[in-house]
Each structure stands twice: as C-alpha cells, then as structure tokens.
C-alpha cells in the first residue's frame, strides 16, 4: 500500500509546489494582474473570506482531514521492513535479503522448465506465489513439478522462516 501511496502523495506535493512557484513568479513579473495565472487563488480567497468556521462544510472537511491523517499515521506505524531473514553464520551477524531477490530466484527456476511459457512470482516471508502459463498440452503433473522445483530452491536457501508455496497454472492455447 505504501508503495502506491508514497509516490502518489509525492506527486501531488510536487505538483502543488510547481504551481506555487509559477504563481509566485507570475506575481513578481506581472504585479498588476488580478488573480492567478493557473490557479484562481484571488477568487478562492474571496470565497473563503465569506466562510465561517462554524459552517457545517468546514467542520466536515476538518473531520475528513483528521480521519485521513489518522489513517496515514496508522499505515505508517504498521509499515515494517519486508526483509527475509537468513541464517547467519555467527551470533554477531544478521543476514537478510529482500522478497524481490527471492522472487527473481524462484522465477528463474520456474521458467527453466520447458513446459512453462512464462511465470510471475510474488514473494514474502510467509508465502511464495507462482502463476505459471503453460501450453495446453503441458503434462498434468506440471503444477506438482513446479511446486517441487520451488521447494528444492527453498531448501537450498538458509531462510530462517520457510514460506508456503502456492502455484497456479494457466493454460494457453495454440501451437507450441
């Protein structure tokens, strides 16, 4: 969720800052002009001047802003590093890797099978999920074969917590 939220908020903030810079520069260059160049801030100011703090709309917006703020704080507090812990050779060491590294390894291993056309993998400390696409004449036991390949790979890695493996196979028609 943070992967989507953080860039989105960043983009919104960057856009607002660019608009602010444009408006400030426009006010310096054209001091006599009324209103903004891109943003009608003088009209907004006039409209807001007529609004009282006691109005229901203002209160509703304030409550909504508070709720959104609390949600963002709770998301930020709940965020944690998604690193995968590996067995370290000694107690004074910690060894970690990222889910992306594991997903790439699994993807490479799964795609090495002749019967697999393509594969997408998502990995976390708890679960490795593989979606493989295969030709429709692929053997019945392809799913079990992929599971076995992924489990072999997980056996080779010194993961402190072994993730569950979930594999789904989608068949694609046509000539191989």
């Amino acid at each position: 969720m943070l992967r989507v939220l953080a860039p989105l908020l960043g983009l919104v903030l960057a856009a607002a800052c660019i608009l602010l810079v444009i408006e400030v520069v426009a006010a310096w260059v054209l001091p006599g002009s009324e209103g903004g160049l891109l943003v009608p801030w003088s009209q907004w100011g006039a409209a807001l001047a007529d609004v009282s703090w006691n109005e229901k709309l203002v209160r509703a917006i304030a409550i909504a802003a508070g709720v959104v703020g609390l949600l963002m704080v709770s998301v930020a507090l709940a965020a944690r590093r998604a690193d995968l812990r590996l067995e370290a050779p000694s107690a004074d060491m910690t060894v970690t890797t990222s889910p992306r590294v594991l997903a790439r390894l699994v993807g490479t291993r799964v795609r090495a099978s002749d019967d697999v056309l393509s594969a997408s993998v998502t990995a976390s400390a708890r679960r490795v999920a593989v979606t493989a696409r295969a030709w429709d004449d692929a053997p019945e036991e392809l799913r079990e074969s992929i599971i076995s390949r992924v489990r072999e790979l997980l056996d080779e890695l010194p993961l402190r917590r072994r993730p569950r493996v979930a594999v789904s196979v989608q068949e694609r028609g046509g000539i191989r």
Partner: protein, 125 residues
C-alpha cells in the same frame, strides 16, 4: 635545555576517517570469491559497475569497535552461509590489519543472487 621527546606511542594520534574504513570494508568484501559486481545503470545507460556497498559506524573505546552494514550481490547457486562467513572473516581481518579496528557487528543484506556469467539485464555488445 631541550625537553626529552615523548615516547613514540605518545607523540601523536592517528584518526582514520570512516570513509576510509568503508572503502576497506567494500574492498575486502569484493575480494571474497562468491561475491559479484553489478552494472551501474543510469536511465538505462551503462555507467560502470559497482561492488559491495557498506555503511560504517565507529563506536567508542580504544581501539574503537566498528559496526558494519553491508549490501552484497552473491553468486548463485552457491552456499550463501559459507560466502557470508568468508566475507565476515575477510572484512574483520582487513579492518584489523589496515586500520587496527575491531569489527563488532556485521549486518549483511543480500541485494541480489545470480549466476556469475549471466548479465544483469539484456545487453548488446
């Protein structure tokens, strides 16, 4: 009358900048068989390559203990624990030999695992 010179060990103080310690760590880690160098790409353009990346925190004491955070790409398939253990030994030895520091902790993050001969991305030569 000239005052007698101080003992050789007390005539000055040697301070090694953390940047130097970081470079010692990175060089030692890159020299371990099983660690790999990666291409450095900027907007899809090859701008050289990079090896291990380290952050070094110098503690207090004499000699000051060093806490190291290290990011590595490893060759795969290979015994990850064995390579990481070799990295720990090499880094600790080089820090002690070249700078006289003791490595207190080492946190390794494996940022990639790949075959030694496989390119990082598709590339035409």
């Amino acid at each position: 009358m000239r005052t007698p010179p101080a003992e050789p060990a007390e005539r000055g103080r040697l301070a090694i900048d953390p940047v130097v310690l970081r470079k010692i760590v990175e060089h030692a880690a890159d020299g371990v068989p099983g660690t790999l160098r990666d291409e450095r790409r900027l907007a899809g353009i090859d701008v050289g390559e990079h090896g291990a990346s380290a952050r070094v925190t110098v503690g207090t004491g004499e000699p000051a203990p060093i806490d190291v955070r290290l990011e590595l790409t490893l060759r795969y398939p290979a015994a990850v624990r064995t390579v990481v253990d070799a990295v720990r030994t090499a880094v600790a030895e080089e820090l002690a030999r070249l700078a006289g520091h003791r490595m207190r902790t080492l946190a390794v993050t494996v940022t990639g695992m790949r075959a030694a001969t496989a390119p990082v991305t598709g590339r035409l030569r």
